[in-house]
């Protein structure tokens, strides 16, 4: 209480500013609550009430269309699989935030298990469920699929590029530098567009694969090039003595790298890595432009037909809230880790 008084009402000028600004904030907050809760219509059956002028948010559209937003065109009877698959990815992300899982072996196992569970559930044919092909995946589950596969593929690629860039072989170093700088100078959309549209012309038919996998690989390359720079920062923070100590103990170069250097690199690179992961989640929405039915596209479809056209605001608020909660909490977690590591160094 005392702290609040000192920070908000220290001088008369401060008091005036505080009263005005807090008043404004509470007024906006009240408007939002009034619109979203007090005057809102909740059930899909009551959609007729939405047409009255004095009514607030019409959540009927969410009640009626949330499955489309979350799961896209996935077969209706199989939605439990989509739900379980999404839960598996979310659990993977949450678990990897726990220090108990912070060893390379556990993290790799966790992500591979989580991703495999997702894929087996969604695809189905391998575990005796009806097959659902990737072109029927959509909504939040497609967003999570893109996100997790990009991170899972991009992380080792990024490490590989970072190691290549540190190599003492000029050709290897130059190749890595060229790839990293080139991809980093291009907008993500250009990279994805090239993978979706241009690669079929450049590659023989047997090498093309599905459009979605080409796009995921290109996205992973984009992630890897940024992540390689993050790792590079981590490598630069390791004193030379660590390498020499490994040598003095008679360890081979690779043993030193994997058992002594890399754990420290990961530690140093952790906050920036979380930033990259958050950014990746945000950027997945861009694939709507090259024709994938991810959450933003399914949101557009949710208010795209018939009676739901006027309620675009409610749909965007709903989808925005999902994105926001995920991105905000991961971001706050990264911030917390950064502060904790600062304390450790003192």
């Amino acid at each position: 209480m005392e702290a609040t008084r000192r920070r908000a009402f220290a001088t008369p000028a401060d008091t005036v500013i505080s009263v005005i600004v807090f008043g404004l904030l509470f007024y906006i907050l009240w408007l939002v609550i009034d619109w979203a809760f007090v005057r809102a219509v909740w059930s899909a059956d009551a959609v007729d009430q939405c047409k009255v002028d004095s009514i607030g948010a019409c959540w009927s559209v969410i009640d009626a269309r949330h499955r489309l937003i979350l799961f896209g065109l996935y077969p209706f009877e199989e939605h439990w699989r989509s739900t379980a698959a999404c839960a598996s990815i979310i659990a993977t992300v949450v678990l990897s935030c726990m220090p108990a899982f912070w060893s390379s072996r556990r993290l790799i196992t966790l992500w591979i298990v989580g991703f495999a569970a997702y894929y087996l559930l969604m695809e189905g044919s391998l575990i005796g469920l009806p097959q659902v092909t990737t072109d029927q995946w959509g909504g939040l589950s497609l967003t999570l699929f893109l996100f997790s596969s990009v991170v899972l593929l991009g992380m080792p690629m990024g490490l590989g590029l970072a190691l290549m860039r540190r190599s003492n072989m000029p050709v290897v170093r130059l190749t890595a530098t060229l790839i990293i700088d080139f991809v980093r100078s291009l907008p993500l959309l250009t990279t994805l567009f090239t993978a979706a549209v241009i690669l079929p012309i450049l590659l023989p038919e047997w090498l093309q694969g599905d459009k979605i996998w080409r796009v995921i690989l290109a996205f992973a390359l984009f992630f890897a090039c940024y992540q390689a720079e993050v790792f590079r920062g981590g490598f630069q923070a390791i004193p030379k003595g660590q390498w020499e100590a490994g040598k003095a103990l008679g360890l081979g170069q690779w043993t030193t790298l994997f058992d002594i250097i890399l754990p420290q690199v990961f530690r140093h690179a952790l906050p920036a890595t979380i930033n990259m992961v958050v950014l990746t989640f945000k950027e997945t929405a861009i694939v709507i432009i090259i024709g994938f039915f991810e959450m933003l596209a399914s949101a557009g479809a949710a208010f795209g037909t018939g009676e739901w056209v006027p309620y675009y605001l409610e749909v965007y608020v709903f989808v925005g809230l999902i994105y926001w909660v995920f991105i905000f909490s991961l971001g706050q977690y990264g911030e917390y880790l950064k502060n904790r590591m600062k304390v450790d160094h003192r």
């Binding site: 500013i17 012309i201 929405a285």
Partner: protein, 400 residues
């Protein structure tokens, strides 16, 4: 405790006995390592050449099968299609070269505008977050956390949807009858010069800004030279280009269902600006706050001990110190803004990416067009990076 080695065993470990063979062994292993390194590099070069060659031949066969001849001859052909936005006169008879140039100008125009606006707002919000007043801190944090934690493209389609649903021209929101906002776009009063003249003025002003930045004069004087020269250029062009008997400024007015006069910004352009500026200024605010927080407390206390006023401490100590750590990430954000203009295709704003992808579906000149697109962004990136380097160097020089 390990038992001490017997003295007799000592010489066995010394160099005199193992030295020579060990050196030989290292020399040999060094040689094999050298060979291995050469081999690996040779394999990589061969693989790269093979990849380039095979993609080239595959592309040739595939394009031949589609009946497309390579080369840049198509740039001279007329396009025959229209698009949403251009600063300079255009028609459907324009060549591909001119249309692509217009797309490039649009990207640069939108990017520059967004960079300037988001830097100003970002510095304001970031500084507000650094003040001691709790209420101001709160509102700035809400701003940052709201706009930074939502995908940019979501914000873009959201604002676009909101703007389309604005009332029509007759019921437009008006601010003093000179600023009108309707589902046709944002109408602003403007100087009575053509878009082309305005573009030349803008480019000249930017060029002058860069020159002034290179010149070894103080920041205040540089700002003064730049601002006065820009105002002078605008005044001269007003005298030269405003037609006889017309006012120097034109105000938008409603004629039937269309607006005439003033500066007319389409809703695509307004949505792009609003979305990118909100998102990017939230990022810049975080960068600025971080930079300000890094200034050592001792420096500020030193300023207070010297009896400097709060404002002087801010402008002479805190901001210059903070700028050193703000500029590099700020430059990255500027480059991001330029790249972010590509999402304009989602709502039909005719930036370079949209022009390229439309040209691509019309002509099928895939490789040439994608090369143009990539080349343009490499150029923008390189130029901006150089620009940021110059600013950075100027900031560093002054400290010594």
């Amino acid at each position: 405790m390990r038992p001490r080695a017997v003295t007799g065993a000592g010489p066995k470990l010394s160099n005199s006995r193992f030295g020579e063979p060990m050196v030989a062994a290292t020399a040999r292993s060094r040689k094999t390592a050298q060979m291995r390194r050469l081999l690996i590099q040779a394999v990589i070069i061969i693989a790269l050449v093979a990849i380039v060659w095979s993609t080239y031949t595959t592309a040739q066969t595939n394009l031949n099968a589609l009946g497309i001849t390579g080369g840049y001859a198509f740039l001279e052909r007329a396009t025959g299609w229209s698009y949403s936005f251009s600063l300079i006169p255009r028609s459907v008879d324009d060549t591909y070269l001119r249309t692509l140039t217009i797309g490039f100008i649009n990207t640069l125009f939108l990017g520059t505008l967004c960079i300037v606006l988001s830097t100003i707002i970002g510095f304001a919000v970031g500084s507000i977050r650094d003040t001691s007043n709790l209420a101001l801190q709160t509102i700035a944090s809400v701003y940052v956390q709201l706009f930074r934690n939502l995908p940019l493209i979501l914000q873009l389609v959201f604002w676009y949807a909101v703007f389309i649903h604005l009332p029509g021209p007759r019921q437009a929101y008006a601010l003093g009858e000179i600023v009108l906002f309707s589902n046709r776009g944002l109408m602003l009063p403007a100087l009575n010069i053509s878009g082309q003249t305005a573009l030349i003025l803008l480019l000249g002003s930017i060029a002058l800004g860069v020159i002034v930045l290179f010149a070894r004069i103080t920041a205040m004087r540089a700002l003064f030279v730049w601002a006065s020269a820009t105002v002078l250029a605008i005044a001269v062009s007003l005298l030269m280009f405003v037609p006889e008997g017309e006012p120097i400024a034109s105000v938008p007015t409603l004629k039937g269902l269309r607006f005439q006069g003033g500066m007319q910004m389409t809703i695509e352009l307004v949505a792009m600006i609003v979305a990118i500026v909100l998102y990017s200024s939230a990022y810049i605010a975080e960068v600025v706050r971080g930079g300000l927080a890094e200034v050592p407390r001792g420096l500020i206390e030193a300023g207070q001990a010297l009896g400097l006023s709060g404002r002087t401490i801010w402008s002479r100590i805190k901001l210059p110190m903070a700028l050193r750590s703000i500029i590099p990430p700020l430059g990255n954000q500027w480059i991001f803004v330029m790249k972010a203009t590509t999402i304009g295709v989602a709502i039909g704003f005719s930036d370079l990416f949209m022009i390229v992808s439309t040209s691509l579906t019309q002509t099928g000149q895939t490789l040439e067009l994608i090369a143009i697109l990539m080349g343009a962004f490499l150029l923008i990136n390189f130029a901006l990076a150089q620009f940021v380097n110059v600013i950075n160097r100027r900031m560093q020089l002054k400290s010594h």
